[in-house]
Amino acid sequence: MRPALSLRTLLALGMFAPGLTLAVLANWSHRPAVLVAAVAGGWAAGWIVGLRELRAVRDATRAVERLGDGELSVSLPEIGSAEVRALARAINHVGATASRREDQLNAALDDAATQRDLFSSIINASSDGLLLYDTDRLLVAANVRCGELLGFSVQELLHTPSEVLRANLEERTAAPAIYQDQLERHFQKADQPYQDTLVIEEPRRRVLRRYSCPVINHRGVQGRVFTYTDVTAESDLDQMKSEFVSTASHELRTPLTSVHAALQLALTGSGDRLADEDRELLEISLANTERLVRLVNDLLDLSKLEAGRMPFDVSTMRVGALLDEAARGVHVLATTREARIVTNLGDGAESMVADHDQILRVLTNLLSNALKYSPTGSLVHLSARDLGDAVEVAVEDEGPGIPPEQVDRLFRPFSRLGMQERQTSGGTGLGLAISRAIIEQHGGRIWWERRPPRGSRFVFVVPQPDARRSAVTAVGDRAVA
């Protein structure tokens, strides 16, 4: 190596100088032979010392080369001149530091591997399917269960190009035409969770609840995680329940029709021939048959609504006319209760797109409930307002309100507060459950809230279609321009 060679020469020359000095001090004025010997001796001593330095430097060079190759266990003896010792020390230090760093790095890598294994064990232990997308909507993680549910292996999920995977999945769903649109809704609001139902037909039929939520850290949204829960059994059971109730109601209707009609005819056709007590007994039978008919009708309607089999006839209606119609419908009850219905139409609540008869049914139900629980001579407020993308309707009374422990089951079937009231009010106990089903079929929401200082406030919101909303926006835009 050229640097080593030139270094050796330099050192030899350097050692020649002390040899010469020694010779001069020994015997300058005497014989030239002594001078030559002294010079030669000095040069030889210099040469020996130089050799040792040279070897140390060569070792240092090799050590640096080994360090460069990643062989970090260097330990140079600290010998020779101060400079060479310093060099060895420095190299030893570099080696030690690098070695320590390497240990730390290895520990971190080990840690990462452990974490990765742990993460993979955890997501694979889940009974729900899991998918993780990054912000570019590339699939970065999937668990075994997800593969099972969707009919792919994890490798297929992770390594198939996303558009191919999407097309394959689309074909396996019950409704391929809307698959893409439904999936898009999950990504529409990147920082919000979203949930829907997905029905897969192959490799076997499964009803999946698909839930997605954003993965967020201090840098913001990092991706989106999807959870697929198999709800096939629940969904089948639910359908069986609906079908059973529907069939049972149908079967009950036929005998009820003849009992009802027969009692009506017996009571009206018999004139004065009936003894008072017999007439009373027939009237009790008729009243209870009518209650049974209402109950069977309500049960049938509820099961149809819950199964999504109630035919809806959606049209645009005037909100004011609808509220008036509902108020007129309960006029008799209002008179009996000596209560008054006050209608208040907020700004802009002009029209609503919904099924007229169904919404009227909800309103009638809420109003008659409000009247039933209103103190004599009180007011029932019926109001509506436009929320832009929805219409909100509220029915308020000045009654006793709802005890906190009853609020949760208010909208469940047969959850009426007192058995006593159910017997005497003539209701079926299904009114609020039917109302909720109707509003939910419209994509809306219904709830109860306390009305200060006293009373109940039932509110429902019916979302309005985009066409109406964009028409409203267009008008707004024009106003700004």
Binding site: R253, T257, S258, A261, A262, Q264, T268, G269, P311
Partner: protein, 125 residues
């Protein structure tokens, strides 16, 4: 249109009987049979001012009986009302498509049955 005679086909014997009584008390002359096929047979012997058919019957159901009544030139002019426990809008549309002029849903009010029929026939006349 003046309605005097009504032919009613209903497979449930009790509903058939109460309907018959209700309509007779409303002032109609009533013949009641248990099936669509019997109704068609009776129509061969004599004509009625109105036929009321139950939707679901064992041998010949109301829809098919209605189609045959409307398909026969001799009976095509007789108005038909369908009676059904079904409340699906699609079923009603099928009945109307078969030529029925109206639907009465079960359970019906026996006291109002006669008036409903007069109302319907008055409106279609």
């Amino acid at each position: 249109m003046q309605i005097n005679s009504i032919l009613i086909a209903e497979d449930d014997p009790h509903i058939r009987r109460v309907s018959e009584i209700a309509l007779r008390r409303s002032g109609f002359e009533v013949a009641a049979v248990a099936d669509g096929a019997e109704a068609l047979q009776l129509l061969e012997d004599r004509l009625f001012d109105l036929v009321v058919l139950d939707g679901m019957m064992p041998k010949l159901d109301g829809l098919e009986a209605c189609r045959q009544i409307k398909g026969n030139p001799r009976t095509a002019h007789v108005p038909v009302i369908m009676l059904s426990a079904r409340t699906q809008a699609t079923d009603e549309a099928a009945g109307l498509a078969a030529g029925a002029c109206a639907y009465i849903r079960k359970p019906f009010n026996a006291l109002e049955l006669g008036d409903r029929i007069r109302e319907i026939c008055g409106a279609t006349a």
